[in-house]
Symmetry: C2
Subunit: 119 residues, 2 copies
């Protein structure tokens, strides 16, 4: 069946969450896409989100160089969430860490489990 | 630093997305939590979401038996998304598949890459 980005379920703002995971299995980040961002990601092979703060397309790595190349896009059963398997150049997080999920809750406390990457 | 569920950033409906991943690295599903669901998950060790359709707490596996035991909860850099590392009993998806992300987009077409688990 041909895939149509319009067949996905977007929220009231026209957005769908997209989870980025690398080949090692690390969940790198979660951000949002519009239908057009989904289409651009598939067409260009460069993962493209919608920046809610800037209200603009966000080609991951365009300014930082920390590019995400699309390996494969997957859709969930409810068609309201995406999983993008990516090849991530350097850190995915704006804090320079590989993953945005660097804070663990252990014994009721927040613990930093990941350090920023060396430049 | 002590962790307080109220310190997370919830959307206008009071919800935060939570990504569930198993020890093998498989991303199983994404669902939503309220602050109370976050607290219950940490207290009980049973992953508890908020069902938007039923408008009720959803202790994963309570009716299906496909329980998610919490291994660790992680918070992202913006504090608006959670990653829950879980021990998943059987399938995470209501279609009886291990993961909800069983549809891949390949060459512009939807391809089913995961079959329902045997009972």
């Amino acid at each position: 069946m041909a895939f149509d980005p319009a067949s996905l379920r977007y929220n009231e703002a026209g957005l769908i969450p997209a989870i980025a995971q690398d080949a090692a299995g690390t969940v790198l980040m979660m951000a949002w896409m519009t239908a057009e961002a989904v289409a651009r990601t598939l067409e260009t092979g460069r993962v493209t989100y919608w920046s809610r703060s800037r209200q603009a397309f966000w080609v991951k790595g365009e300014t930082s160089g920390h590019v995400q190349r699309l390996i494969e896009m997957r859709v969930d059963c409810d068609r309201d969430c995406l999983l993008v398997l990516v090849e991530q150049e350097g850190p995915a997080c704006h804090t320079n860490r590989r993953s945005c999920f660097y804070t663990a809750i252990r014994d009721g406390a927040e613990v930093e489990i990941l350090s920023p990457m060396a430049d």
